[in-house]
């Protein structure tokens, strides 16, 4: 069993870390306050090859594996979670085309994705279909060689940025109420009938572009079907397992960021004549935080490793997401506690990390859903 990263993975990690420090850290708080998508950052991420890292090299991508994506995502998330989230989601969704797309779809979309010029979005969740994703009701009806799409999707990440290129949605394409036929359809940004609502005003992830979107007789060619008709749900679930590992990596990054900030604060703040670090209560908190970060990362890496070697990884990815996201929430809370009153002031980065933490146990499959998945994997 080899726990070491390869030299390439180490170099990638260093690149992501240097990039995050130089390009993201100086502007993260500002974009959060303005609730604005950091376009220049993403353009540079594209230029450096990080945004397109998991896409096939023959289309200009980096050909990196999921473990490498997890490593990079963690480093970006230490500094700014929204950037890590988009990095992860983009890689996950784009892979639907890599795995299931037609040659024409690959030609048209994998190149700009691989070169990091565009972002793709994931359209599963609806106002009436969250954890119960099978309750989705967006329809795509085949008429005269075109799909005509009607419906609404909610909580969609980075669909409305200047870099947003396309969305892949899950839609009902037939079947009955008891047995819905669900398929994946690709809708390019700018298609008439594909409407973007205003971004939500969120508690955290404020520089992340999150919107409700809707389709009103939105028409796309029949060839925009991705993969097999009727296999949409199965295809989405495949990449969702990927996405869980990615969000797990985001959570590890956030938790690590909280730990680093808290450690720094504890080493400097003096109360009762000594630094906080000398008080056992604080030492114990930091020790627990560090232990949890280490454990969470190992789980994320193991799940990624299993995927990379082609072994089943559904249970492990759910466990990793469940554990890492809960660690992130706990660690953020403890981080604020260690900062005392200062942790409640926006000027202190820990406050932003605290706000950014809560949604991690909800998005990409709530903790409750993860437990359902794990229980099923156990044989219940």
């Amino acid at each position: 069993m080899d726990f070491d990263l390869t030299p390439e993975q180490q170099a990638l990690r260093q690149l992501a870390r240097d990039f995050a420090q130089k390009e993201i850290a100086p502007v993260a708080a500002e974009y959060d306050e303005r609730e604005e998508f950091p376009l220049p950052v993403f353009r540079k991420l594209g230029e450096v090859g990080i945004l397109g890292m998991v896409f096939p090299p023959e289309y200009g991508g980096g050909g990196s594996d999921l473990l490498s994506l997890a490593i990079v995502t963690e480093e970006l998330s230490v500094v700014d979670v929204p950037v890590g989230v988009s990095e992860s989601v983009n890689g996950m969704v784009g892979s639907i085309i890599t795995f299931f797309g037609t040659q024409q779809q690959k030609e048209e979309w994998l190149r700009p994705l691989g070169k990091g010029r565009i972002l793709c979005s994931f359209g599963l969740t609806e106002p009436g279909a969250g954890s119960d994703s099978m309750a989705l009701s967006t329809r795509a009806d085949l008429e005269d060689g075109n799909w005509v799409i009607n419906g609404t999707k909610s909580f969609i990440t980075h669909a409305g940025t200047p870099m947003s290129g396309l969305i892949i949605i899950a839609a009902v394409t037939g079947g009955s109420k008891e047995r819905k036929e669900i398929s994946c359809i690709l809708v390019p940004n700018g298609t008439p009938g594909y409407n973007l609502a205003r971004p939500y005003r969120k508690v955290g992830w404020r520089s992340s572009d999150t919107r409700e979107i809707s389709f009103a007789d939105c028409t796309v060619p029949e060839s925009n079907l991705v993969g097999q008709r009727g296999k949409g749900f199965h295809q989405f679930m495949t990449v969702l397992d990927w996405g869980r590992i990615g969000i797990g990596a985001v959570a590890v990054g956030l938790a690590r960021g909280c730990l680093e900030l808290s450690l720094q604060h504890a080493q400097n703040r003096v109360q009762f004549g000594v630094t906080l670090c000398k008080h056992q209560a604080i030492q114990f908190k930091l020790a627990e935080m560090a232990t949890n970060v280490e454990a969470a990362r190992m789980m994320v890496h193991k799940a990624a490793y299993l995927q990379t070697v082609g072994r089943p990884f559904v249970k492990e990815s759910s466990m990793a997401k469940l554990f890492a996201s809960e660690v992130a929430v706990k660690t953020a809370e403890e981080g604020v506690q260690i900062h005392g009153g200062y942790g409640y002031i926006e000027e202190y980065p820990i406050a932003r990390l605290y706000r950014n933490s809560k949604i991690l146990t909800i998005g990409e499959g709530t903790s409750e859903v993860q437990k359902m998945v794990i229980a099923r994997q156990l044989g219940c």
Partner: protein, 258 residues
Amino acid sequence: MNIVVCIKQVPDTAAEKKLNADLRLERTGIENIPNPFDEYAIEEALKVKEAKGGTVTALCMAPETGKEALRKAIAMGVEKAVLVTDPKLTGSDAWATSYVLSQAIKKLEFDLVLFGMQSTDATTGLVASGVAEFLGLPQHTYTGKLDVGDGQVTSQRQTEGGYDVVNSSTPAVVAVVKGINEPRYPSLKGIMQAKRTEITVWSLSDIGVDPSEVGTAGAKEKVVSFSPREPRKGGQVVQDEGDAATKIAEFLTFKKVL
């Protein structure tokens, strides 16, 4: 326009103790990192190559770990890499470093030899001049701007009050200052390329260097003692009786900072 860029590995001297990615306390002075000043030299070499054509080779004198610094250079776009390594090189001073590098450079094709301005450990800014002397070449040190023409090179050499414009024929040795350019990130493709590029490894016998002249055996200086900086505590405090300004000035002079 073929270019050799000399790079170095230095101890990581971050004054702040921080955790590294493995949640381990970074131990000062023990981990090696690529010399931060060398990035500017690598970038300048790549820019010249992109404008004039040619090949860029990175050269590093180091133990086996020097390969990391070379791989980073390859990831930035350098095509070839050479590591000069030999256990007998341990403890080499600036003189030996200049000599060894020169012997290695003689085996390569070059029009320019590039250096960063200095390294973050003790020997500051001597090696470029030493190499220039051993190779008998013009030196363009403290270069803030570099212009390469046909068979000649012009640089802006930084001075206290501005800069001097310096011109010479090639081949020449150039040492660039921090800030001469904005070093590019290693690209993802570059990182993968670094894995595939073979690094040439030379020992002292490959470059015709007598071991007795380098390393601790050949060292022309020796350390007598060293002491760590004292931890900061409060110094003297005086009441101003109209003379405080003078006292401050005296203190700063005494500390050799004014």
